[in-house]
Every structure is written in C-alpha cells, then in structure tokens.
Symmetry: C5
Subunit: 342 residues, 5 copies
C-alpha cells in the first residue's frame, strides 16, 4: 500500500514534523535496511572478534595494515555522486509511471454527457464501453504487476469476475491465437465500434462527441502502451549494476576499514575503542537507505509498502465508471437559484 | 499566507537586494529554525559545561578523544549532496502542485461567450455551471488542505455557505452512500448535464462550443484529480527519512565534535577557546534551513507562511466566476474607433 | 535592456569568443559586483591594518589564531553546491517567465484570415479585438513590472495613451468597484463578446474560426495569469535566505581567514606576504557573481541590464497587431508563377 | 535485445533484489568492461613486473617517485562529476528516442472505426493505408539502424518482403531520382491521398474522422523526422571526447600511480604489498562501467544487449496493423448485459 | 557542418567505440583547444625558463613560495561544479533550438491532401503557400545566422533566388517602411490569405482542412518567433562571464602553481623534475574542452563544425515542399492487393 504522510507534514511549526517521520515503521528505511544491516553487523563483529581474540601480535599488525589500506581507498569510491544521479532518474521514472496510469473518469464524463437514453440499450452501450475500457486496463495491469496477475492469473478469472463475457472471451482467444504479440488493446477496438454504432443509431447526436470519445479511448490506449513500455524498457542494467557494485563494495571495504584498531598502536583517529562503530552504521543507514529508495521505486507495481495500490485501482475504476454512466446518470439536481442571486 | 518578495528584488543595484531579505521575519529561515537551534544550543552548552566543570582530567582526555572522533567522522556524512537532490525534487513538486491548481476563469469566459440570454433561465444556467465547478474544486480542497477542511468540515457547511443547495446535498449524499470511493467529481458531471441541456434548448448555438466547454470541464476534473494524486502519493517515506536521518545525525555528532577543547592539549584548530562556536551555528542555520525549505514545501497546502492561500482562492474563484458569467455579462462597451484610427 | 551577445559568439575559432565577453561592462559581473567588492576590500584592508599596525605581539598571536580558525571552518560551508542548485532553479524560472509572455501575433493572424470586410465595421471589429488583447496584457504588465507601472501609473494613463476609451474606463471602473480581486482579464471577456457579435453578423463565416479565436484569447488569458502567478509565488523566501546567508557568512569569515599572517610565524601557506590576496578576490568575484546571476534574474521584469524590455514589448505588440489586422489587411500580392515553375 | 529485469525487482524484501542483478551476464557491466579490464590488467602487471624484477635500486627510486606523482595528480581529474552530467544527458536522449518511436496502433484504431465496409475495396483501403505507414516507418529505420539496414539493404528487399508493390517502387524511384534529399515520407503522402479518396467515395462518413486520421499520419511523420534528427544531430563530439579523454587518462595514470611500492620505503599507505590492487579494479569497474552506460546508450539502435529490438518492432507493427484494420474488423462481440446489471 | 558520429557508436563491443572518436579532428576538442593550449604552453615554459635560468637562488626561493601559494589556492576555485551546471544549461538550450526549427513537411502534406486540382490555379496556390512559408523561414534565418545572412544579404537576393517576386518585394518594402519592428512573419499572413481564397473558391472542401492548415501556419510562425527569442535573449552575460573568469583564472594560476620546483628543496610532490607537466596539460584539455563545449554550442547557428547546416536546410525545405505539393501530387500508386491478402 502507498505510504501517505502528506497530512502529517502540512505545517512546519516548532521542531517541524520530519523528525516525527523517523518513528514510523511501515515503508520506512529501517524496514528495508534491517536485513542488510544485520548481515553487515555479523560480518563486522566477526572480523572484530578474529582481530581481538584469534590473531597473535604479528598477525594483528598485518590486520591493521590491511584495515588502514581499506579505510584509505574506500573513500575513493564516490558513491554519493553516482547515487544522487541514479536515484534522480529512478524517482523521475517512478512519478512518470504514476502519471501514465490512465483514469477512466474523463471518458465516463464524456459518455454520460453524450450518449443519451435511459432505456436498456442506452444503458447497455454506456456500461459496455466503460467495461471494455476497464477490461483493457486490467489486462494491461496483469501483464506488468504481480499483484493483479495474482488476482487474475488467466482470462477465465476475468470472466468470473464479470469483467468479460464468455462470448467476448471466445473472440479474444480467437484473435490471440493468430498472433504471438500482446493484444491487450482489443477491448478498446471493441469500445470504438460500440461508439460507431451509437452514432449510427443517433444516440450520439453529433460528430464532435464521437471525436472527443474516440480521442479519449485512444489516449487510454496510449497510456496502457506507455505502462508496457516502462515495463519492457528498464533502466539499463549496466547502470543499476554499477551503482549496486559501488555501494556493496564500499561497505565490504568498510568492514575491514572501520575496525577499531588497538589504540596502543597510535593510528590516527584510533585513540579510543568504542566497540560500536556508530558512524559506520549511520553511514550504512544513509547510503544503503538511499540505494533502497531506488530499489523500492524502480518497479512501483510490486508489493512494496510504497508501491501503487493497483488492485484497489481496478475496483475503484469499475465502480466509479458504472456510477457515472449508469447509476447517477439521471439523478441530476434541478436548476434552482443560488442564495447569492440578486 | 504566501510570502511575496518579488517586487523588492526587481532590480539588482548597489549592494543588491538579497541582503535586505535577511532582515525579514515572516516566512524566514529564522522563524522556522529557531526552536531547533534553541534545543541544539542547550545540548551544546550542556555538553560544554560537563566538559569544563564536571569532568576530572582523565575523563576530559576521554571526552577529547570522543570529540575528535566525532569531528572526524561527522564530515563523512555528505549531507549537502543528498539535500541538494532532495530539495530539488521537493521544489519541483511544489511548483507542479501550484500549476495543478485549476482556475475557473477560462470556463467562465467560454460560458459567457457561448450561453446567451439575459433572462432568468440563461443566467441560472451560467451561474449554476460555475457554481458546480467551484463546488467540486472546493470539495477537492477540503480533502487535501487543513485550512479549507477547517472552514467546511462537513457538506452541511458548504450548503450553509451557499455553495450547494439542500436538494443537491441530498442527491450527493445518496451517491456517496453507494460507494466508498471519493465522489468529489459529481458536481462536474452535473455541470456537464446542464451544458447538454443548454445545447438541447439551443441556448448554446453550435456543437463546437459544447466541445470547448466539456473539454474545459474535463480539464478541471483532471486537475482536481492531479491535486488528489499529489496528496495521495507522497515523496517516498524512505527518501525523506534518509535525508532527515542524515541531517539530524550530523548535528548530533557535531554537538560532541565541535566542542572547544582545552587549548593546552594542542589539538589542531583548538588553539583558542571562543566559547561561542560561530561556524557551528552558521552551519546549523545553513543545513537545517535547507532541510526546512523541504519541510515547509513538501505539503504546500498547510498553514505555513509559504503555503498557498487556498481559502482566499475559494472566495476569489466564486466571486470572479459570478462576475464574468452574470454581473458583467451585458456591460460590454460599444464599438467605437480608437484614437489611432486614420 | 536585454543584453544580447549571441552574434558575437556565433563561431568558436582561434581563442574563441568567451574571453572577449570579459571586457564588456553593460550587464557584466563587474557592474553588479563592484559595490560589494568595494565594501569587502575596505573591510579586508581595515582588518589587515589593525593586524599590521595596531596590535602588539601578543594580540597578533591571538589574531593569527582567530584567522586560522576562520580559514579552517569557512571551508566547511559548501556554497558552490547550494549555489549550483539555487541558480539552476532561478534560471529555470527566468526562462519559463519569458516563455509565458504572450504574443498577439497568432491571434492577429487568425483574425486577419477570419474576419472579412474592408468596410469600417469590419476594420473596427478587427482593431477593437486586438486593442482589448493588448490592453489586458498591458494592465497585467503594470501589475508586475515597475517599468510599465511607471509609464501607466493609473487607468487614466491608459486612456490617454489611446489603449482604452473613456467609456470603457467607466465600465471597467464599475466592475472594479464590485470586487477586491484583480480584474485584468475583463478586456479579454469584451474581446470574446466582439467575436461572438462578428459571428452573429456573419462576418466570421464558420464556427471553426470562432473556436480557434476563442481558444487563442483564452491562451493569452492563461499566459497573463501565468505571469501573475510567477509574481505572486516567489521562490520560497527560506531558500533565498539560506543561500544569501551562506555566501555572506562565507565572505565575512574569509575577511579574517585569508589575512596574510606574519611569515615568521611559519603558518602553512603563509610563507610570503603579498599584501594583495588575489585568489581571495577571484573567489569573491566568482561566488558573489554567481549569486548576482540569481539576484538579477529572480525578477526579470525589473530595470536590470538583463531584464526583459517590457515597454518596448507593449509598443511593438500594438503596432504589429494593427499592422496585421488593418494596415496590411488588403495589400496581398497577386498569385503569379514562381521562377521554378515548369 | 532489450534487457528487461523489471519483474525481478518488483519487491524489495529481505536483502532486496539489486544484489541478484550482479550475477547476470547479458547486458551486464562485466560483459561490456572485460576487454578493457583485460588490457588494463596486462598493462598494470607489466609495469609491476618491470618494477619488481627489471629495475635496479636507483631506478626503483625513480619509479616510485613517478608513481607517487601520478597517484597525487590523477586525483585532480574530477571524472565522477563530468561523468554524472554526461551520462544524465545520454540517458535523457536515450529515453526520448524510445518515446519518439511511432506506434501505428492509434491510427489503426481510428481507421477501423472510421472506414467502413467489408467489401474488397474497403479492406483494400484500410490495409493499404496501414501498409504505407509501416513502409515509411521501416524506410526510416533502415536509415538509422544497422539491424534493419541489414535486413532490408535495398528497396527491392522491401518489395520482396511484401511491404511495397513493384508499381510503388517504380514511382518511389522516380521521385527519388529528382532530389538528393531523403524521401522516406513519400508513402505517408500516398496514405494521405488514399484517405482523401475514401472520403470522396463516402467511405469515411464525416470530416472529423478525416482530420483525426490526417493528424495522426502527420504525427507519425513528425516522429519519423524526430528519429532522423536524433541520428543526424549527435551529442556534440567535443563533449564525448572530453569525457572519454578524462576517463582514459585517469586510468592510464593509475597504472603507474597505484603500483604497490616497496613497503620498506615507508611511503604512506604502502605498508603492505597485496600484489592484487583490489580497489583499483573496483574503481575501474565503477568508472569504466559508468562510461559504458553512455557508450551503449548513445546510439540505442545498434546491436547492443540494451538496444531497442527494431526488427521485432517492424514485424509486430505490420501484424498488429493488419489484425486491427482487417482480420478482427468484424468480429466484435454482441452487446449483452454484464453480470452487475441490476 | 554538423558532426555526426552516431553510426560509429552503434555497438559497444570489444573496447567500445569511444576511444576511436579520440582520433577525429573535425569538430574535435583538439581543434577547438589548440590555440589556447599553444598560448598556455608558451606562458608555462616562459615562466619555467625564468625560474630555471634567470633567477638567482634567493629569487628562486621566492618563486617557489609564490608557486606553492598558487598551487594551494587555485584548488579552491571549484570550476568543475560551475562548469557542470553551466554546460547543462547550454546543452539544454542547444537542443531546444534544434527542436524549434520548423519543418514545412507537415504543412505540405496537409496542402497536398486538401487543395485539389491539377490545373494551373490549383498548382499555383499550393506552390505559392509553400513558397511563402519557406520565405518567412528564410527571412527569419537571415536575422539569426551569419551563414544565411551571407547568402542573402538583402531582400533583393531573395528575389534573385526566386524565393520572392518583384511585386511581393514592393509590398514587403512598403510595410517595412511603416514600422521599425521586424516583419519576417508577413509572408505567413499572405499564405493565410491564399488559404482563405482557396476555401472561397471551394478548392478546399471543408472548414476542418482550413483550420488544420491555419493552425500549422501559426505553428510555423510560433517557431520562427521562438528562434528569434533564443537569439534575442542570450544566457545572461553575468553567468557566462562568471564561468569564463573561473576557468581562465584557474589556468593562469596553474601556470605558476604547477611549475616543477627544484627537487632539492624537498617540496612535497616535487621529488622529480619531468619538464613536461603531463597532468597539467590533461587538466587543461579537460576543463578548457568542457568550456569549449559551451562556447561552440551557445550559438548553434554559426559556422562551427558542430553548428546546424542552415543553408542546406533552406534548399532542402524548398525542394521537398515543391516535391510534395506539386511534382508528386498526382503520381500516387494504384490500390492493389498486398501479398499477404488472403
């Protein structure tokens, strides 16, 4: 589920609100980072124990030299820079993907205004067009999101859910057999032909309305295609690997490089042995958390806390579509004068 | 209220104008940062007092080692980089949200030009369409801004304010009961149906005007939806936490790390004891102020000095809408030759 | 006036052209920075004189310690980073504001093509629509730019300049009294009604042309509204203050921190006393100039060298509008075969 | 072929998924970097061998001095910064190019809805328009992608593949002879004229549909032109050279600068001789990998693992176009009530 | 001429292709930088010679101190950061300018489809509209590009080239005398009136086509205006000066700061005298090359290797325009069944 905290940070008073966000668990950096941190802590104290208890004095000297070597060179890996650029790209794509999600509301509004008639055939046409739109959208979502895929593993499940009729499934399967390519857009073609029929039967009064509706259907088709594009063309693997390599190798090197060395050896900044390398763990939280921002947003259609609630969307769209084009189609208030009328 | 200073910085003469802005209080960094600064100062001088008066010489040496350790490692937290990227994203969203605010002026202009008639029914239609638009907008705002929510806590308050009639409320509540989803857009559907009726009664002369008006109503619907999206999908919590953690942990570490140590111990850059760590506080102002930029803009619909004046907007939109479609509808100047006519 | 140098840098040959730009005064960094530089120099040499001539040896030692402390910590203020991000935002807004300036040329072209008739009434309609457009634009500009405000301090000045008739002013004032809100868009509503009248009189032959013209009028309204938005919603004051504080405090600290200390004290990089701290002044030019980029662009409607020439724009738009819709309306060349006709 | 890994990173649980991506070969940084790394390793150990076995003691001292000089100055080359900016530009263009690829689906939908008739002439018109669109697109692709060029080296190959008829080729060649400029858009002009004919024969019922179709044909033309623009106007060579020079010269200098020097000479951070400079190779992977991101994306129409699958696209577009406008043109489901009908 | 290298970098195999680009001269960084480099080398070795041969020992010590002072402080000028931001802005504008170049192809396609008739008057109208479009475009280009200005220094040259008739020139001059403002758009107004005449003569069959054509003419007008805007509003001079100052002063300081000092003086990193400061020259190439990227792109209409080939564009546009609307107007292939027809 999406993690919303906008209302908690509406005002910036007193100490502000950001510090309060630090105590949330759901969708938090702690939840994402803790397994890595746990493993990191194990490795760190493992090395530390070897140094403190297992090595003899000569080996300790060698250990110290390796540690100082790691400490020096690990700082040469400029991960903050590459993370900054990479996360910017990921967040940019994440928001673009959200904006690529189509909403059937506009089309419902157009159809409610344009296709008249309270008889069964009028209602049927309005409902069917909206059903086709939502069907195409839902099929698209099954192709890109595990959540919706889990809910509708096959076309049959869509039929069971009432999103498709048995007859439609037969035709859909027929087309599907003829081509290896994805045919998620087929219900949109059907919707277009229902619109054409409605015009022929003069339920749609003018060509303008037809154009508006067809343009909007096409807009939804373009957005479904856009979603598939984001799914198909990932951020180049090389870039992701480069960033991941940088972060992981940095932390592997700090396992050796940030060990507390024997203060008696007088290495700089090793005057004192804290046993717990607090800044090390802070840095781990910081950089690993930054990488996890990318990791949880790179595919916003998964089941992370921060991912989009696509199943909710599917239900909402069906409900609202039917509501606008059918249920509230006739319940419009009368025109009466407002209280400021003079 | 929005803090406007554009006119004060129109020209860049002499010493420029930016330094003058430093002496403003409203919407200033001082106003946002002072509670944090106060707490920080308390902690800093608390530690300082312990070091100076409470510790014996041996403990002082340990204190100094801890201090130097903190000073060294706190510089490893690259907060300026992560703040730069994060604040860029926040400011980008902040301005996009402003641009997502719909303005009813265009629609009023279209309606004033297209729906003719000075009789009551003509006026009623024009006023009602505009009222529905503003109503939908206001309902949307109650969902995202505490200020407007406070003004109209329930639908009844909208009725009292004259934005909705009792009959409309009944229908609205009826629809509301049928679905758990937000139905802020319902008045827009009503507006669409009034337009359709006006066309049927031939008050709108051509299909073009209908299309223009319906497109604009839909545009306003899309913008209301956009505002809800920004409200629903926050900047990922992980990112905000990472940035906040970085800034807070940096300053916690400087509380120890920037203490003035006994000059006699000859630590580098501790030759002299100023008692007041001026650069430390400057840095605090700087980084904490940068974070507060994010904190006050992350939700621009709150009650911060820099937030958008949404209640003013609601009033302005109603007034201007009625003005254009009704009050000034007939007061158009005659066509007379301008003075450059030759 | 806008400073144009594009033609001087058309080619990049020999030593290139950028170095030549260093010798320009108008709109230059020197012109913007010199008062600050002057003040900075005074303070620097004031401190220097105190150190060299007024202090005894012991005080000199203290001065030196303060100086080295300032030198060390001033480097911790990462102004280049925050300046980079801030100036990017300012330049982004500056160019967007330029692009938000509406141009009446398109509308004039539409009107010239659509509203036919060389009789007085046809000319009158065409001229009046264009006059209203330019009037609304000019009223908008008086609200945001000191230059145009100076030229037209009141509506009466617009009447005197022939942009408005006395009758129109009366109606405008009447509307103005009824609402506290800005009514700069009123002439656009008038223009819309003239278009509607022209259609009714069949001077505009088809509904398409009406739609095109009304859409363009609305586009201009949106752009005027956009200009007011940029004026109303400044870059958050906090951000500007944070950047200004960073730059000013950095330079205040370098006044102490970059003093030439007695070479005999063997402080590092103080081997030699140049009296003139050339790098210091270069850095001042550099950072302060960068800040001045922001300062002169943050409001591009002022009277800086680099600001937009709005008064020129007002005149240009009136002249060109009348030229297209009236003066050249009939002087179209005959259709004759071009020389490549075969 | 495009490397898709979106589904593998849908969720961020446990240790996340990014580390798993490190073990992929196809499209990986290892596959791109290994030849360079091999060469680098050879050079590194060559120098190392010379130092260890070939030089006498005096020469070793000189070698060490050179090495330390290289180590010091190589760090002055700020490649991470320039790489960050350059790769951002390359990735921006890469995604824009993907979005510039036209898709014939919208047009097919429009044509299926607008051009009626199941007789041969209706089918012929619909199929021919789509064939012309895909033909123009394919010709454009032969001009910019080696893969499609290889498949269709000449116009004759297009005729053989059934994308063009012999008669069309004759006309195409005739036009081609008259001008040295690219005439890839000619089939689009033909498509336009088929649309005009269909309107004249009243197969297209209204002018709106004509406008929609012509606008879409023009949209595809614009996108083909856009693809050619990206091909014609590369990222300025200077920029690419500057970045490449920086990376290569950095690594050339590290070959000398990161040699393990004799620990006995007590150079800092040379306490121990590891023989294998692990951080050096990590840095190589990191920076060279970052450059390879740019190198493989700068032309996304090549045969890299991450490049767009253009031949697949050509086939898919032909198949889907025919499917929509012909094969499924009549197989639309009947209107029947959905299961939620009440 | 534009430097295209996209095809050479289609694939990233073996050692990749970027290193090959280093050996190109045309449009290369070497070609742009060598005069500066030559001058820099002269100054460097001049100083070096003075130090080595002209100074006595005491002066050498002073020289060394100055050198070390320069070396230390020159590193405080953060040019990579300011260059990164500045070049990003320049490259952004460069590509936007390319995209602002109008292409007459769409209009030609619309006109070929809409204006029927193979008689002389039909051909004349089609050709004349296209000629006017290209004329306006060419006049715009003479105002912003030295290359086209050189080719058509006066309107008479346009008449000689057959782009304008003598009669048209007379009218154009007449209008030109009445206003001091640029009237490059006048031929577009003429084109609009030819379209209106074609509609009146019923050569254009419907109002839709008129709207489409007028919209496209207006689009071209907007793009011509956009080109003039980029010419008129340069990147603020202050910014360019700040960047240039930073780069030049950095290199002036390195002339002193990077001299090889007498190794006997034991200055750090001066253990050895190479005579040739290889890293210095690499850095020069790098930073100066980066600045030259900006310098050659800041005005892409000059005669640099990387500038747009505007004269080629003018010819191409005329040829293709005539080709589409006249020469190939009737040579459309017959409708015959494709080979996949079943």
């Amino acid at each position: 589920m999406t993690v919303t905290y906008t209302h908690e940070v509406a005002d910036c008073r007193g100490f502000g609100n950001f510090w309060r966000l630090l105590f949330r668990w759901k969708g938090s950096v702690y939840k994402l980072v803790w397994p890595d941190l746990f493993m990191y802590t194990l490795l760190y104290y493992g090395c530390s124990a070897v140094y403190r208890y297992a090595l003899n004095e000569d080996d300790k000297r060698i250990f110290e030299k390796i540690s100082r070597y790691c400490a020096y060179y690990s700082d040469l890996i400029p991960i903050s820079f590459v993370l900054g650029f990479y996360v910017s790209i990921v967040i940019g794509r994440w928001w673009q993907q959200y904006q690529t999600l189509p909403w059937p509301d506009s089309l419902a509004l157009f159809i409610s205004t344009s296709i008249s008639g309270q008889d069964n055939r009028g209602r049927l046409m309005r409902r069917t067009i909206m059903r086709y739109i939502n069907l195409a959208y839902t099929i698209t979502l099954t192709m890109i999101t595990p959540r919706v895929k889990k809910r509708f593993p096959t076309i049959d499940h869509l039929v069971d859910a009432g999103f498709m009729t048995a007859n439609e499934k037969k035709i859909f399967d027929g087309i599907s057999e003829r081509t290896p390519h994805s045919i998620h857009f087929v219900p949109l073609v059907w919707a277009g032909s229902v619109v054409a029929r409605a015009r022929k039967e003069n339920r749609i009064k003018d060509d303008f309305a037809v154009k508006t509706i067809i343009d909007e259907i096409n807009n939804i088709r373009a957005k479904c295609g856009g979603l598939l594009s984001y799914d198909w063309i990932s951020i180049p693997l090389v870039y992701t690997q480069v960033v991941t390599l940088a972060v992981y190798s940095f932390f592997l090197s700090t396992i050796m490089g940030r060990q507390f060395l024997d203060p008696k050896q007088k290495y700089p900044y090793n005057d004192i042995d804290f046993y717990f390398p607090v800044f090390n763990f802070l840095q781990f939280f910081f950089y690993m958390g930054w990488l996890k921002v990318a990791e949880s947003l790179v595919n916003p259609f998964g089941e992370d806390d921060d991912d989009f609630e696509v199943n909710w969307l599917v239900d909402r769209n069906f409900t609202i579509s039917y509501l606008i084009v059918d249920e509230m189609h006739n319940e419009h208030p009368e025109l009466i004068q407002d209280i400021y009328w003079e």
